[in-house]
Symmetry: C2
Subunit: 615 residues, 2 copies
């Protein structure tokens, strides 16, 4: 607040600066970054983009932190199925107020970040009822929950903190129950639907489904943000693990001689693909953020045409698989980094535990990963359905699906790499990924139709086509997009030649390693045939690891924050592993002292078996 | 201590009772169980099995907890490479004492459980030097580190706590530096080597390598124990996640109607294979524990023959891959359980975070998983080398390797299952696993020889044959052993018919799911051919999940401890998910109160931008 690191004007002028600020705050402390993000961007954007002119009065208060906000969708018994939430908002025309009410404790708002201790205002999602009892579905309302001068709850609001979590404990996640809390009619955020003073519901949307989709549009930002947050976590973990691996020596070709553990092929194979993933996903994250900025500028402007709608759908599909891919890659990568640092990776002061714990919510909040993936596969399947039924071309504003136009040809292709050397460029896995996405798309489409033919309704058919079909389809499509964007980025003529080699290796390593997780499918569908195909990919991965290992520390120095921010003795840039760790341990308080309970353990200790007879 | 839950006599008479006690303590609190285990079993057994008659005096003190012990091998700069540890023990014949010394802080004992605050005595591993300066390698010594009456350190010993870890924080892991600490000659644990009063080194072993192997034999117990500990963690996590999944409803075929999330194929596929894994691995864990008890009884008796040595090697191989398989399965399973419970899985009170954190060290302590796997693959490769070079038969006391005798035939077999139905028994994956182990064994053997032919020394050849070769070989061999033992157990005639069906499904599901992680290799090596093979396995897995889902809660009730011990509101047996969770949240202290710093956030808050000019 005091440094005012990013004034609003700059935020608007340079969209990437927001992502950069969140990343920098997050590297230091994720809870700080998340509290800032939830207030300024989630709460602030919700009011800005779901409200209208009459809500502009809130914006200066938000920027000055005169009020502090949270975004309350989730309830104790409903999260992913947001449409089913049960908080109600009945309109009372006699006072021109909405009455916000929680029918029971299962409908309490729950998990809401900033709500536990600090928020003074909430954007509350509730089912809107007009006089006569008609329900118009989910709408959002600005509800004051605490007095900004005293932080005491407002009348009728029972608000509290949900308690300790496995990570991000600097964020005060909270709950709230509303007992017939009255708010002015004007505090309905009315961009997608409004109620006249007399109590008539008006909306520009034809059906409730369409209106609902538009009202949840603000969630896209959160998902794109989480892609970036996950990548930051993986950057930090890799900085620690690779610097450790370059300085920790263990075993060697002869007694007395020990080599750094990074010299071992196993250690390279465990860590370097994640280093490549960080570079590829970081580029994807930034490019997706810029795509989203373009979309949002269009939404604010006059461009409400077909391209804008298509862009919205495409970005929704990319963000819905991007968040799962990035958060899972980070989760697994951090765990591998923890294990790759052995025991020292378990020491809290080295920070890998906190990174894992703080990253973990990224797999769940703003949409459970497994459920979000369905958005992406549905997008692809609907394109295929339009193509099959109506002959529509596969094309999208960001051109991520354009290759599908050639899907019959692509499905006929086979892996034809003559040697390991020829696999060392990302163009080889790129071609394999195109085949894989076409194969999974066709398989998923057939599976869905087969389920329907055998009597399943749409709900069952979709549920029974996720495992082995739609789920890997969504992930493979996103991996292809990440690989393609990083391939194109690293193969630009303007990349300086000295960088081109190492960036090309990172691009190929991420692509091959990621692809190798689908080797079974490549064989099953016939793209791979014979023993050599699989072995060639394996050998190419190991070759690239070996080629990259001497650059690993330099590549980490590029992405690591200063030591003060990285805050991990075994990950400091000077490589003085043991001195830093020993110093950190000795600096802890009471490290050499007896515990306060020493006498209970030594002098006044329990007598063995004294309670045995009572058993 | 007061209940004296397991007197020593019972421990000796019924070996499984030790595993049961550790499991029960651990279900309640792992730190308690680990402190007990480290003192009674690791420290106690080390003295009993590495010492001789002159050390028997310590045993009653250990059982009565007059002294409290720890086991100090690892140093700040050496863990896995235990041979290279640098603490010294010089013998001084003038006083008949050993002088224990840490040459520098990198040689400080580090990570030692119980050492941080509580241990009074340590079994310290050090390089033994006799007068004249000859080093006889690693030996263990009983060293008093604290006064049992005051818990203050002994002269010359700098001992302290290494600080907070990511889990198991009830265990006081510590460090110690020794400054020329003198101990009586008799406190050398002399089973594998001794020093005469005059200073002459004597040992029954021919070479140092053989003696070193025997001195580290006590580590096997720890690894077998960790198999059981990991399984307990997975039991707890699954009890929570499956009960949650059976009561949490979300989405449904129509508006207003919601179904339990366990009804979704995706949720079944995420959790039920881990339920099957818990049953299969639990049986393996108990059977391996009994094998170890047989080995230890033999060691204490007169049976020091060839079978005993072979049994030791086989158990070492099983424990060295069993610990990685069990700890990694638990680690991944707990993470899946956490994510399968969505946001509520992140709430600390529900315990999934603690389970993950407390399980994590299992991947590292008592031997890093990746390094331990090399022990198992080396065992198999040495058998193959004896077979190829000398015609030795493949046979072992527990018969885990006997099938390899038929490896040329097995390698010629192909997957020939005619239908999904015929895959629903574990005999199908059992046959596939036999092929897989033979294939990986041949491939690893060839890879090692190829590395050597191309000029690598043994050290390099071994390091470059782990990824894609020896590493999956060790895991596949252990999975086969687990599958085989559980298959035989569930197919016994004495299994009651009503149980046979459900146990058979668990056996088949674990086997197929585990095998499916190797599908790429099954295709690559030609065991699988064509699209149907892979799909048949997938369909069989999904069929079994669907068949097991209605039994899931009952299967969990079998393995779950009482609610008081499980200690997870969303995992209580009554299934009152939301009532339990809401109650638990409201019971936390200060849940509805303002934070102590409320005025800093509301009244006396910092002024936006007040420090901007200083940037």
């Amino acid at each position: 607040m005091e440094y005012s690191l990013l004034p609003v004007e700059e935020m608007v002028a340079r969209p990437l600066s927001v992502q950069t600020l969140i990343a920098c705050l997050g590297m230091y402390d994720w809870s700080l970054a998340v509290k800032f993000l939830l207030h300024m961007l989630t709460f602030g954007s919700a009011i800005y983009s779901s409200g209208s002119e009459r809500h502009l009065k809130y914006l200066p208060k938000i920027f000055n932190m005169d009020i502090f906000g949270c975004f309350a969708v989730t309830e104790l018994s409903h999260g992913s199925n947001a449409k089913a939430i049960r908080t109600t908002a009945h309109y009372d025309p006699t006072t021109e107020e909405f009455i916000i009410h929680s029918p029971d404790f299962e409908a309490a708002k729950f998990w809401v970040g900033n709500m536990g201790k600090t928020a003074t205002h909430a954007v509350v999602f509730a089912q809107l009822y007009t006089p006569g009892g008609q329900c118009h579905g989910l709408h959002s309302f600005v509800v004051q929950i605490r007095n900004p001068k005293t932080l005491l709850p407002m009348p009728g609001v029972m608000v509290g903190d949900i308690g300790k979590k496995l990570g991000l404990n600097g964020v005060d996640n909270g709950f709230a129950m509303f007992h017939k809390v009255r708010i002015p009619r004007q505090d309905l955020l009315n961009r997608t639907g409004d109620v006249t003073p007399e109590g008539t519901y008006v909306t520009p949307f034809k059906d409730d489904r369409q209106r609902f989709g538009a009202s949840l549009g603000t969630l896209s930002f959160g998902r794109v943000a989480i892609v970036g947050m996950s990548i930051v976590n993986l950057k930090l973990a890799l900085s620690i693990a690779l610097r450790f691996s370059a300085t920790r020596c263990q075993f060697g070709p002869s007694d007395g001689e020990e080599v750094p553990v990074l010299e071992y092929q196993t250690q390279q194979w465990r860590l370097l693909p994640y280093l490549a993933a960080v570079y590829a996903l970081d580029h994807f994250s930034k490019s997706l953020y810029l795509d989203l900025a373009e979309l949002q500028q269009g939404l604010m402007g006059t461009d409400q045409g077909a391209r804008q709608a298509e862009l919205g759908r495409e970005i929704h599909a990319l963000a819905s698989a991007g968040k799962p891919l990035a958060s899972w890659t980070a989760q697994r990568g951090i765990q591998e980094c923890r294990e790759a640092c052995g025991g020292h990776g378990c020491l809290a002061v080295n920070r890998l535990g906190d990174l894992r714990n703080d990253n973990d919510p990224n797999c769940t909040f703003e949409g459970d990963n497994n459920i979000l993936l369905q958005q992406t596969s549905s997008y692809l399947l609907s394109l295929l359905a339009c193509h099959v039924q109506g002959g529509a071309r596969f094309e999208s504003p960001l051109r991520t699906v354009d290759f599908l136009q050639a899907y019959p040809d692509i499905l006929g292709q086979r892996f034809t790499c003559p040697s390991v050397d020829s696999c060392l460029d990302s163009s080889v896995p790129l071609a394999a990924y195109e085949w894989l996405v076409c194969y999974l798309l066709r398989e998923s489409y057939q599976k869905l139709n087969q389920e329907k033919r055998s009597g399943s309704n749409d709900f069952e058919a979709r549920n029974n086509s996720q495992v082995y079909y739609c789920h890997p389809l969504a992930l493979a499509f996103l991996e292809l997009t990440v690989v393609r964007r990083f391939h194109e980025y690293t193969h630009q003529p303007r990349v300086p030649p000295p960088l081109r080699a190492v960036l090309g290796r990172l691009s190929a390593l991420y692509a091959l390693w990621s692809l190798s997780q689908h080797t079974a499918l490549l064989y099953q569908g016939g793209y791979f045939c014979g023993e050599q195909a699989g072995k060639m990919i394996q050998n190419a991965i190991l070759d690239l690891c070996s080629q990259l290992k001497d650059d690993a520390v330099a590549l980490v120095d590029v992405i690591a924050p200063p030591d003060f921010v990285l805050d991990s003795p075994i990950g400091r840039a000077d490589g003085e592993l043991y001195k830093n760790l020993w110093t950190a341990v000795l600096l802890e308080s009471r490290v050499l002292e007896r515990p306060s309970w020493w006498s209970e353990f030594s002098v006044h200790k329990p007598r063995i078996g004294s309670l045995k007879s009572k058993l």
